[in-house]
Amino acid sequence: MTQLTLAKAINAGLRKSMESDPKVLLMGEDIGKLGGVFRVTDGLQKDFGEDRVIDTPLAESGIIGTALGLALRGFRPVCEIQFDGFVFPAFDQITTQVAKFRARSLGTVRMPLVIRIPSGGGIGAVEHHSESPEALFAHTAGLRVVSCSNPVDGYWMIQQAIRSDDPVIFFEPKRRYWEKAEVDADLETPLPFDRAAVVRPGTDLTLVAHGPMVRTCLDAAKAAEAEGRSIEVVDLRTISPLDVDTVAASVERTGRLVVVHEAPVFFGLGAELAAKITERCFYRLESPVLRVGGFYAPYPPSRVEEIYLPDLDRVLDAVDRAFAF
């Protein structure tokens, strides 16, 4: 057991993957000597060399396009997109090429690419550094989309993503990079990366979140407890596929569901979950599925981002509305 920040836990997971498989390569901007702008790849170029920890030209489509070629050659590239808002120049390569390649080859080619994206807001950043584009990728068949919320998952899920023969969009909650937890590197059976997890049991309402909002929901559940409400929190962990079974089982216990994410609510993950849960748990629901998330506005300047981002009060407000039905 070691106490690790999320950034160091992902770093340790990357290191372990590189040690166990010589085909694993890291690619990205500033990931070598600098160790990445968030230091997630710190020290890896020194230990694995410039051929395996590749500082790329500043061209995101180029990173993903060349990673596809490397994957075709038998490598397992792990690409770092420096910030969420910079993934869009690579959106074409990801959605038209990477996602479809295996199907187009009739299953003859693996596409074991991992695309790491530090995402979400709350760090007072300038434009294009605070976004949550998970729904855009989940809409494309052929990709897996996962989101880690804590150091333990960061350590294990990055290794599982790298071992996967499918392309994985791997979201990392940048505002949680410095949060610490005990990480057991000897765990024999880590939870698979396509499963959600109940991270706090409860009986009256289910809060579902992923990535940065899991901590927010745990805080909200704790605050609600003081008001006599028992809230269950589900960390989604995977967005494509969605582990609907785990969420539905929770709603069967609680009868109420609030979905929380930083991304805009409109056409978002919450809408998909609301539809699925309404279909599965219609007779068990005590209230409509409610959603808490970003507003339908461009991600705002940092001085007002706290208005845009769900926080403990906005989550509790939705909890109150759910109980008011």
């Binding site: 396009g65 075709l72 038209t96 009739l106 080619v109 068949a141 996967s164 609907v244």
Partner: protein, 394 residues
């Protein structure tokens, strides 16, 4: 769009700085065809079949090899004609013709070794032929039974790529993989004059130059990107762009199979000997429509098309074979007969391509099970079974 060609004079590329060996250059290029507005380029065979030498691109060619190149070009032209015919008869939804580009494709394709890897657009039927891809495999996507349909690693020939220029990056990435594996294979990235405006092609140039990747960028400049002339894509000859990225660029007569073969060989050798990328602009012409859905009479003149007909790549090689006494009517007849047999084979193969099963739309997207796919497949299976139960579906 013929006027601007007259201003293109230089064929001397700038070699990559720091290159240990002088790069192949266009020095000594001569103008021999006598046609007006001919740009300068590497040429080893004039339109009338006269063999000329080039100091930087020597080519020793046996009679067998010359006949073999002729056979390749005739066969792929026949494959192409069959594709167009199948589309006209409703058996294909679309066909992208290579007519006029046989020399560029066969010359470059035959320059490659088995362990080299080609990344085509969607028009490289001639390169596919050189790589050993069965022609009927090319029809799947045009018939609508798949979106590719072959194993790229079987013949080191990637799937056709429709998004313009995307494959240039894949080629560079693959070449970066070759570097890491320590082999001396090389990679060819095909693209066209239209795709040269795509950011991905330019990013591919940057990555290839930065890592000195063993890749040859082979642009078939066929003068037209559907209706847009090359002047809309570039204002200086494309091959000159390479100098700005730090690697050599050359222009070759794209209707001269010998020049395409020699220049591509040199560029592949340049790549495998550790000297990095090269850009080849094969100056050619799309004799047909962009695809079977296009009507080129709306944007280009018959005169222009006719002027290019005089430079036909197959007629030119045949003139050479005749001039050298390397082939006779028996040979030509045998090749034509073989072409007819191949066409019949392709036609039969096309008609035999089965429509995909409805549930196959869920196949192959993921290597391991995905809950959403499983759920929707089960739904569709039930839904379709409902029709069958009611007897509405055969």
């Amino acid at each position: 769009m013929t006027g601007r060609r007259a201003v293109e004079k230089s064929t001397t590329p700038t070699p990559a700085s720091g290159s240990t060996k002088r790069a192949p250059q266009g020095r000594g290029t001569r103008r021999t065809s006598g046609l007006k507005d001919e740009p300068e380029f590497i040429q080893l065979l004039t339109p009338t079949g006269e063999r000329i030498d080039h100091p930087d691109y020597p080519l020793a060619l046996s009679a067998d090899q010359a006949r073999s190149l002729y056979r390749d070009m005739v066969l792929v032209r026949r494959v192409d004609a069959e594709g167009t015919a199948l589309q006209r008869q409703g058996e294909l939804g679309l066909w992208a013709s290579l007519l006029g580009q046989e020399a560029a494709q066969i010359g470059s394709g035959r320059a490659m070794r088995a362990d080299d890897f080609a990344f085509p657009t969607y028009r490289e039927h001639g390169v596919a032929w050189c790589r050993g891809v069965p022609p009927v495999n090319l029809l799947g996507m045009f018939r609508g039974v798949n979106h590719g349909g072959w194993d790229p690693n079987e013949n080191n020939f990637n799937l056709y790529t429709i998004v313009l220029g995307a494959q240039a990056l894949h080629a560079v990435g693959y070449a970066m993989g070759v570097q890491r594996d320590g082999g001396d294979s090389a990679v060819v990235a095909y693209f066209g004059d239209g795709a040269s405006s795509e950011g991905d092609v330019l990013e591919a140039f940057v990555f290839a130059a930065s890592y000195n990747a063993p890749v040859v960028f082979f642009c078939q400049n066929n003068q037209w990107a559907i209706s847009e002339p090359v002047s809309r894509q570039f204002r200086v000859p494309l091959y000159k762009r390479a100098a700005g990225f730090g690697f050599p660029g050359v222009r070759v007569d794209g209707n001269d199979v010998l020049a395409c073969l020699a220049v591509t060989r040199a560029a592949l050798e340049h790549a495998r000997s550790g000297q990095g990328p090269m850009l080849i602009e094969a100056y050619t012409y799309r004799m047909g429509a962009h695809t079977t859905s296009d009507d080129p009479t709306r944007y280009r003149s018959d005169d222009e098309v006719e002027s290019w007909r005089a430079k036909d790549p197959i007629a030119r090689l045949r003139a050479y074979l005749d001039r050298e006494g390397q082939a006779d009517e028996v040979f030509y007849k045998a090749v034509d007969d073989e072409a007819d047999e191949l066409a019949a084979e392709i036609r039969a193969g096309c008609l035999a391509l089965p429509d995909p099963e409805p549930l196959s739309i869920f196949e192959h997207s993921y290597a391991s099970p995905h809950a959403q796919v499983d759920e929707e497949r089960a739904f569709l299976a039930d839904y379709l079974a409902g029709f069958e139960a009611e007897g509405h579906r055969a």
